[in-house]
Subunit: 184 residues, 2 copies
Amino acid sequence: MDLSRQAEAFVSHFGEMSSRWGFNRTVGQILALLVVRSTSLNADEISQSLHISRGNVSMGLKELQSWRLIRLERIPGDRKDYFTTAGSISDMARTVFEERRKREIDPTLSLLRDHLLDTPADEEEMHAHKQMAELHDLLELLTQWAGHLNNMSPEQLQSLMKLGAGIGKVLEFKDKVSGKKKDA
Amino acid sequence: MDLSRQAEAFVSHFGEMSSRWGFNRTVGQILALLVVRSTSLNADEISQSLHISRGNVSMGLKELQSWRLIRLERIPGDRKDYFTTAGSISDMARTVFEERRKREIDPTLSLLRDHLLDTPADEEEMHAHKQMAELHDLLELLTQWAGHLNNMSPEQLQSLMKLGAGIGKVLEFKDKVSGKKKDA
DNA sequence: TAGTATTTTCAGAAATCTCTGAAACTTCTG
DNA sequence: CAGAAGTTTCAGAGATTTCTGAAAATACTA
């Protein structure tokens, strides 16, 4: 049940970083624990491993489920609920990306959309309007782009990532070709 | 000095969202204020506009400067310090991205790098090791990719974004061409 | 240099967030 | 159905973060 020195450090680091990542310390630690452990764990085991109260574990698990990062498993003949991570590291990364987009970007986007409907009344409002429009367009582009990335296969992603700085060349090339082909 | 209804709503929304974005309410509000206002403002004006203490404004401005999001300006004949945003919305977006990468990713990356040097002693450690390696590779890829994006010109970025889902096609095409050319 | 304007700092107040643990609730077994 | 096993809830304690405002420090002017 005890964690290796490494695993312990990993879990505790995740706890420290978690607030930057959008959840609180215990939630981060629970997730990290489930990531490093190879078997699924029940709430009591988690509570003991991390030295946090049973109630806190329950809340943390609920939060992680709302993020769709963990999955409940039942073991026949055992009444307890067991938990594991929902998918591979990169599956989880996608989920976190998407979930954060929903929480961090979407509300702002919809506020901006509303405000952009009004017409600016003076110079000052004109400036504000322009800035908001710029932010809106940027966020929208990002959102769309994130959507595309999320729909790409792991292989495509890998290929894209490997391309790296070379993407510029490919774009030029593509522009040239498609320009000739059908002026798109 | 008073803000339009819209601008006010924008500022206050930013205040609410700011904690998700890595800074506290007042810091977010100060930034939003400087974004919507067309002229640079001094600390007293900010303090009055947002109804927050002078000391708090001073701390907030310092924080925003550490993020390299705002710029100090001096007006000849006026002893006060005046502040504006440092660059356009998309300049600021790049800065925030990079700064967040430094704070959210880099520390984890370096921890993982350290741990990956050790050799796993048993099955359980083996699993932990594998997971950490996977996370490490993913974060590294993301970091590199973010670097490339940051080095691309706005035009290239635009072009890439417009491509959207079509990126898959381009990749296939590129793989075919380069495959024939030099079997890369 | 003395005096004034401006900014920064920081101790403690206020607000917010997190955690505990006991009670309430749910689910299962015989 | 009664009792046991397990989970969830939530009021209040504890910890952390943010904010204020007065005092200290700095920068400018004459």
